[in-house]
C-alpha cells in the first residue's frame, strides 16, 4: 500500500516537475518532493534507515543566490565573518564582500562556505540542510533507477570525478546528470554539506575505525560495512569526516531541504 502511494506520489511529481513543487515558489531554488523510502546505511551491515518524504533543492545553491544572502546579512560577508564560523578561505574565490569577480561564476555552485554559513543561508530562506541519510538516499539514484549504488557503470562515473583533478572553474549548476528524482548534480560537480556531517566520524585512521566504533565506520572492505563495493560512499564519508563546521574548501558547497509538513 505504501509502495503504491509512493509510486503515485512519484508519478504526480514527475508530471509536475519544476512547476509547482517548490513550496517557496521562487525561481532560483526549485524543490522537488522526495517520497518516503529506505536508505541502506553504509554502516551497521547495511541497516535500513527510513527517510520520511521531504523536499530537496533541484540544484546546489549558486554564487548568485548566496550573494543575495550576504547582501541581506552583513555579518556573513567575507570581511565580517567571525573566525569560529568560517576559516580564512571563506568565499575565497569572490572578489570582495559584495562582488563575485571573475573566479566565481554567478550560476556555479557557491563553494568555500562553512557549515555554519550554509545552515544560516538555509534558515534565512526558510529551509534547512539535508541529513546524511536524506542526501545519500537521493544520491543512490542513477538517471533512471531509484537505487543504483551497485551499478558498476554508475560507481565508475562517480569515482572518475573523485579522482580527476579539480576543474579550474566549477561549471554552472545543472551541468551534470539529472537523476531519477529529477535532482541535478548529486555527483560530478561538488561535494555538499549535510546537516549531520559529523555524526559518522572517521578518526583519520580509517583502518582502525572498525575497532573504535565498530558500528560506525571502518576501512574499505571491512566486516561491518554494509556494502564494501560502495567506494563512492566511503569517499563521501571519509571527506565529511575530515571537516569541521568552520572549514571551507574549494569543492564544497551545499543545497537545501525542507520538511514535507
Amino acid at each position: 500500500m505504501k509502495r503504491l502511494t509512493n509510486t503515485i506520489c512519484s508519478i504526480v511529481l514527475y508530471s509536475g516537475l519544476f512547476l509547482n513543487a517548490n513550496p517557496q515558489g521562487t525561481n532560483n531554488s526549485k524543490m522537488i518532493l522526495i517520497s518516503t523510502g529506505f536508505y541502506e546505511s553504509l554502516f551497521n551491515k547495511g541497516e535500513e534507515q527510513k527517510v520520511e518524504k521531504f523536499y530537496l533543492d533541484v540544484y546546489p545553491v549558486t554564487n548568485k543566490e548566496f550573494l543575495e544572502f550576504v547582501k541581506a546579512n552583513p555579518k556573513w560577508r567575507k570581511t565580517n565573518i567571525k573566525k569560529i564560523f568560517a576559516d580564512e578561505s571563506y568565499l575565497a574565490n569572490w572578489k570582495s564582500d559584495l562582488e563575485l569577480g571573475e573566479k566565481a561564476n554567478r550560476e556555479s555552485p557557491v563553494t568555500y562556505v562553512s557549515w555554519f554559513a550554509a545552515k544560516a543561508f538555509a534558515e534565512w530562506i526558510g529551509k534547512r540542510l539535508p541529513t546524511v541519510a536524506e542526501w545519500e538516499y537521493v544520491a543512490s539514484a542513477s538517471k533512471d533507477k531509484k537505487y543504483a549504488v551497485n551499478d558498476k557503470e554508475v560507481i565508475k562515473k562517480i569515482l572518475d570525478w573523485y579522482s580527476s583533478i579539480s576543474a579550474k572553474e566549477i561549471p554552472p549548476v545543472g551541468s551534470t546528470e539529472k537523476n531519477y528524482w529529477g535532482v541535478y548534480d548529486m555527483h560530478g560537480l561538488i561535494w555538499e554539506w549535510t546537516y549531520d556531517f559529523n555524526t559518522s566520524l572517521v578518526t583519520g585512521e580509517s583502518r582502525g575505525d572498525g575497532d573504535l566504533e565498530r558500528n560506525i565506520f571502518c576501512g574499505s572492505g571491512s566486516a561491518s560495512a554494509g556494502n564494501a563495493e560502495n567506494y563512492p560512499a566511503f569517499m563521501r564519508y571519509g571527506f565529511r569526516s575530515s571537516l569541521k563546521a568552520n572549514y571551507t574548501t574549494r569543492n564544497l558547497g551545499f543545497r537545501c531541504a525542507k520538511n514535507f509538513k
Binding site: 578561505s89 583533478i165 579539480s166 569517499m235 572549514y247
Partner: protein
C-alpha cells in the same frame, strides 16, 4: 733515573688532561654522540632520484618537515596520462632524511585544489596509525603532529585515508630515512628509487588519460610496474650516473600497493644489502626481495663502465610493464674484470644425437610471435623522432645497443651502417618480416636471425626515421606509406 721517570709520567698526565679538556670544550672534534636535543632545522626534501645530504651533527635536533599533498595530472608513459595523488607533486613522494633521536615536527598541508582529504602513515613513527590519526587533513588545511625517531632505518610512508588502497594506488607513498646515531658510512653517490604499480582501465601503452581500475587493483593485475612513478623515469636521459671506482648506495622502496619486488641490477652484485631497510646487512647479493610497504638499502662499487639495468626480476614486469631503470657508469675499462667479447668462432656442437636439432633451415614462420603491441598506442602526442626514440629504446636497443653500435659478430651495427643506408626497403622489411641469413655490414659478415617486430606502420616509419637520423646515418625519412607498400609486397629481394 727514578726522577726522570716521574717527570715523564707528569708530562704524560699533563698531555692527557689537556686533550680531555680539549675534547670536552670542542664537541666538534668528538665523534661520540650526545643524546641531548639541540637546535632546530628545516628538513630539506628531495624528489627522486635524489637524496638529501647526510646529516653530520652528532646530537639530535628538532626537525621541521613540510609536506604537501597534491592531486596532479601527469605522464605515466609516452602518450599516457594519469591523475596522481602525491606527497609533494611527484611520485614517489619527497625523500625525508632525519637522524635517530630527532624530534620531527610534521606539517601536512593539503593543497586547496585537492578533491580528497589525505593523511600520512610513516612507518618510522611509533604511535597509533603511524601519524595517520593525527594528520587527517581536509583540502586547504594543514595538520601538525610530532614524533621522536626512535628507530633507525629506511621506512615507507603512505596515505591511509579511506579507501586506503585507492590512495596508495594513485601514488601516495615515499621514503623516510632515519640515520643511525653514528651516521652511515660515506659513499660516493646516493640515489632514491621507488617501485610501484598502476592499475589503469586501459592496458599497457593505451593512450590518453587513463582512469584508475578498481577491479584490476583487487585482482592484483597492474597494467604498469614502474620505478619512480612513470615508465622511463630512470632511463635514457633520466638514468642515474656514476663513475668507475665509485661506491653507490641506493635507497629502494616499494610502494606497492600489492606486488613484492625482486630487485636486481643487471651486471652488478650488491656488496651490501640492508635487508628490509633494517640494521642487519647481508653481503654479495644478486637479487633482494622488497615487500610492498617495505624497503632495502643496497650498496655496491662500480668497477667497469657501461649501462647497468635496474629491474624487478619478476621479469615480465620489467620488459612488458615498465619496471626498468638505468645506471650509466662512465670511466675507464678494466679488462681484467670484464673483457668484453674477445672471440667469435664457429661451433659445431658435439657429435651426439642432438645434432639433428640444429640441421635444416630455421623457419621463421614457426618462431613464436613476439608481442610488442604495447607500443601500438604510444604515438599519442609525440613527434616521429620522439616516438621513434621511445620505440628504439624499448624494442631495438637490447640487440643493436643504445647508440646503434651493435655487438661484434652477433648483432650488426645501425650506426654509420652502409647496409642500412643503401637498403631502405630491406630495412623496412627487416622490421616487418624479420631478416635471416647472411648480410655484410661495414665489411663484416653477420649471419643471424632478426625476428619480425610487431609494430604498426606509423611505428616502423618512426623508428626507422629515428635510426636514419642518428649516429652518422644518411638522414633519410621513412613514411607510413612506404612501410604500407612493403607490407603489401611481402617479399623483398636484397640488393
Amino acid at each position: 733515573m727514578k726522577r726522570k721517570n716521574q717527570k715523564l709520567a707528569f708530562v704524560f698526565l699533563f698531555l692527557v688532561i689537556i686533550s680531555v679538556i680539549f675534547i670536552l670544550l670542542y664537541p666538534g672534534c668528538d665523534q661520540s654522540y650526545s643524546s641531548q636535543l639541540k637546535g632546530e632545522e628545516r628538513a630539506s626534501l628531495t624528489s627522486a632520484p635524489y637524496v638529501p645530504p647526510p646529516i653530520l651533527r652528532n646530537h639530535p635536533s628538532r626537525i621541521i618537515v613540510d609536506l604537501e599533498t597534491k592531486e596532479v595530472k601527469k605522464r605515466l608513459a609516452d602518450g599516457v596520462e594519469y591523475v596522481f595523488w602525491t606527497f609533494g607533486g611527484n611520485v614517489p613522494g619527497k625523500f625525508i632524511r632525519v637522524k635517530e633521536g630527532d624530534i620531527v615536527e610534521f606539517n601536512l598541508h593539503n593543497n586547496p585544489t585537492s578533491k580528497m582529504p589525505h593523511n600520512i602513515d610513516l612507518h618510522a613513527v611509533t604511535g597509533p596509525g603511524g601519524g595517520a590519526t593525527s594528520s587527517f587533513t581536509a583540502p586547504g588545511h594543514t595538520s601538525t603532529f610530532s614524533f621522536k625517531a626512535l628507530n633507525s632505518g629506511l621506512y615507507v610512508y603512505h596515505c591511509a585515508t579511506a579507501p586506503v588502497g585507492m590512495h596508495i594506488a594513485n601514488g601516495m607513498y615515499g621514503l623516510i630515512l632515519v640515520e643511525p646515531k653514528e651516521g652511515l658510512p660515506p659513499v660516493d653517490r646516493e640515489y632514491y628509487v621507488m617501485q610501484s604499480e598502476f592499475y589503469t582501465q586501459g592496458r599497457y601503452g593505451e593512450s590518453g588519460l587513463q582512469p584508475f581500475a578498481q577491479q584490476k587493483a583487487e585482482d592484483e593485475n597492474p597494467a604498469y610496474v614502474v620505478f619512480n612513478g612513470s615508465v622511463g623515469a630512470l632511463t635514457g636521459d633520466n638514468a642515474i650516473q656514476a663513475k668507475t671506482g665509485e661506491t653507490i648506495r641506493l635507497y629502494i622502496g616499494n610502494g606497492g600497493p600489492n606486488l613484492v619486488s625482486s630487485f636486481h641490477v643487471i651486471g652488478e652484485i650488491f656488496d651490501k644489502v640492508f635487508t628490509e631497510g633494517g640494521t642487519r646487512s647481508n653481503h654479495n647479493v644478486q637479487t633482494t626481495l622488497i615487500p610492498a610497504g617495505g624497503s632495502a638499502i643496497v650498496e655496491f662499487k662500480v668497477e667497469v663502465p657501461g649501462t647497468f639495468i635496474l629491474v624487478d626480476h619478476s621479469i615480465f614486469r620489467a620488459f612488458n610493464k615498465g619496471a626498468i631503470g638505468m645506471l650509466k657508469v662512465s670511466g675507464n675499462e678494466d679488462l681484467a674484470i670484464y673483457s668484453g667479447k674477445q672471440k667469435d668462432q664457429v661451433y659445431f656442437g658435439s657429435d651426439d644425437e642432438d645434432q639433428d636439432l640444429f640441421s635444416g633451415p630455421l623457419n621463421l614462420k614457426s618462431l613464436p610471435e613476439i608481442d610488442n603491441t604495447q607500443h601500438i598506442n604510444n604515438e599519442y602526442g609525440l613527434d616521429p623522432i620522439e616516438l621513434g626514440k621511445s620505440i628504439y629504446t624499448t624494442t631495438c636497443f637490447a640487440c643493436h645497443q643504445l647508440n646503434g653500435e651493435g655487438m661484434p659478430g652477433v648483432f650488426p651495427p645501425l650506426a654509420k651502417s652502409d647496409f642500412l643506408n643503401k637498403n631502405k626497403e630491406v630495412a623496412i622489411s627487416a622490421i616487418i618480416n624479420g631478416l635471416t641469413g647472411e648480410v655484410t655490414v661495414n665489411g663484416k659478415t653477420y649471419n643471424g636471425i632478426m625476428p619480425p617486430q610487431n609494430l604498426n606502420n606509423k611505428q616502423v616509419a618512426a623508428v626507422l626515421t629515428y635510426v636514419y637520423n642518428q649516429w652518422g646515418n644518411s638522414g633519410k625519412k621513412v613514411s607510413e606509406d612506404e612501410v604500407a607498400e612493403i607490407r603489401e609486397k611481402k617479399v623483398i629481394s636484397m640488393k
